[in-house]
């Protein structure tokens, strides 16, 4: 079930998702992310409690759970923002996330979209995408960087995908909330990560935008692995084949959305019975 999918559909390239970046990362056993016995405590409060989570290559996983279940902390642990007090976090088979900095993790191929859309407001849409582009991101490289024709084409492709071609020269700060969400998703696409973490990607989007996002994510899955935290059950139902329910910092249930919704304990937690 968690086998990587290698058939590159022509539609992927047509929407500008580009090449799968599988090189360099050892995913022999088909899991891209392995979290074992992860605990995080803030002043005695356990935000995560012996959490175990496995995400397969090319999988689209939704994480749901009530407020305070530890969803954002989970993302913080994976991206290196928060260090777990104990437990293992592996990216692929060989990269130990608990020993890497945020920048190293980002360079290794984990992209993150924040809950509140975060883009570079003073820069134009084009420049936002240019900065995110996967390339050498050292100081010296940035001083001498010139965009190649190939890189420009790639930016155009992504602009097309996120439907911002008309606003290419606008400062990102002037975009609508939904457009900023798309721009941030576009920046993730430019980064071309193997694993995308998306924190409430459809918050503040119109129904049409939400539908389009669902479509986009489904196309992304397979080439990339996605982990989506979302409250909108309709959206979860439309994209996920696999759902994990978090509660009080550990995994309460896992399975398809129907299975999870029928789970006694999940009903108890959500409805307070």
């Amino acid at each position: 079930m968690l086998e990587p999918i290698f058939d590159a559909g022509s539609s992927r390239d047509a929407i500008g998702i580009g090449q799968a970046a599988g090189k360099g990362l050892n995913t022999r056993h088909g899991t891209i992310l392995t979290l074992e016995d992860i605990s995080v405590s803030f002043d005695g409060f356990k935000a995560l409690n012996d959490l175990n989570l496995y995400i397969g290559v090319g999988e689209l996983r939704c994480i749901i759970g009530p407020n305070g279940a530890g969803k954002t902390t989970l993302m913080d642990v994976i991206t290196g923002k928060t260090r777990p007090s104990h437990g293992n976090a592996w990216f692929g088979e060989t990269l130990d996330l608990t020993g890497m900095s945020e920048v190293q993790i980002a360079q290794a191929g984990i992209g993150r979209k924040f809950q509140k859309p975060t883009v570079f407001e003073a820069l134009s849409v084009f420049e936002n995408l240019e900065l995110a582009q996967k390339t050498d991101k050292s100081v010296w490289a940035s001083l001498r960087a010139r965009l190649s024709g190939e890189q420009k084409d790639r930016i155009d492709e992504v602009l097309d995908t996120i439907r911002l071609t008309a606003s290419v020269q606008r400062p990102a700060g002037l975009l609508s909330h939904g457009q900023k969400q798309f721009l941030e998703i576009g920046m993730l696409l430019m980064q071309d990560p193997q694993l995308l973490l998306l924190d409430e990607p459809v918050a503040g989007m119109t129904d049409a935008e939400t539908e389009f996002t669902a479509e986009l994510f489904k196309r992304l899955a397979g080439k990339h692995s996605l982990m989506v935290v979302e409250h909108d059950m309709g959206f979860v139902g439309s994209i996920a084949d696999h759902v994990t329910v978090l509660h009080q910092g550990s995994v309460l249930a896992e399975g398809s959305l129907e299975q999870v919704q029928e789970n006694e304990r999940v009903i108890e937690v959500y409805l307070g019975r």
């Binding site: 991206t79 900095s101 945020e102 920048v103 980002a106 360079q107 992209g111 993150r112 924040f114 975060t118 883009v119 570079f120 407001e121 003073a122 820069l123 420049e127 240019e130 900065l131 995110a132 996967k134 991101k137 050292s138 100081v139 940035s142 001083l143 001498r144 960087a145 400062p171 700060g173 002037l174 920046m187 980064q191």
Partner: protein, 355 residues
Amino acid sequence: MNQPLMLTATQKAGPKLTIAVGAVILTLLLALPLCSLLPADNPLQVSAYTLTLVGKILCYAIVALALDLVWGYAGMLSLGHGLFFALGGYAMGMYLMRQASGDELPAFMTFLSWTELPWYWTGTEHFLWAMCLVVLAPGLLALVFGFFAFRSRIKGVYFSIMTQALTFAGMLLFFRNETGFGGNNGFTNFRSILGFGITEPGTRAVLFFATVVLLVASLYTGWRLAQSKFGRVLTALRDAENRLMFCGYDPRGFKLFVWVLSAVLCGLAGALYVPQVGIINPSEMSPTNSIEAAVWVALGGRGTLIGPLLGAGVVNGMKSWFTVAFPEYWLFFLGALFIIVTLYLPKGVIGLLKK
């Protein structure tokens, strides 16, 4: 709207006008030292006082530009740039003192009945080594301070306070006679530079010319930086550092590069300031000096390249007039100016001109 590159905005407003104004100003600045060489009865003759005053303001303009690179572009407000300026000035001062005293010890050391030069004065009789010190002293200090500050992720107001404390500590250190830099009197009574008399019109004209060249070179460096991807990374750093890290950029290297570059520019400006003004003492490191530099940048328009130059020119021009006309009101006026700019001109004079 927060334009990252003011140049793009002025280019839209009228590139020809900008270039024309720039060319006129540059021609005037280049003509000024030549006019100073004219005989005294010529109507176009520029007095040594005027030339020194303008040269001093140009040095300040370089400081403003350097500060703008770290504040306007990278969003780190430094309230300690006076320290880097003074260090460059002191390095140049050491050479000038050695020139003045010849084979003897500098006069202030004789007063302290020292019999030999402290080790850090070694080699300062050579102009080239002094020039190396002009770059190395502020550069290395900025490198070490920046390395630890950025590694510890010190930002915002904490960073400003630390830079302010740094320049204050520097001032206290240089005030001590035992430090070996002339205590509160600093260095003065310079005689010659590279064998030329320091007060001779020719020397003054050349120093002025060198200042104009440094200013143009700084402006060009700043422009190239702002145009490059590096400049866009700095703007991104200012607006959303977290986002930038999750894009895979390590902010520390970018901050450190621009921080050290800025410190070195200040040091060079200080080195040109001292022979023109004829004195350097620890009051150059006083916190108020560094704060004033921030006022120039804010007034001119931060995040632009021309703004800080304009700010430094306007404030210092007014200062030299005010301190003669109404000496006791200058600081009140400066304070009022800063409040007005903060409240009504968030983008500075440049923002006003663009409208």
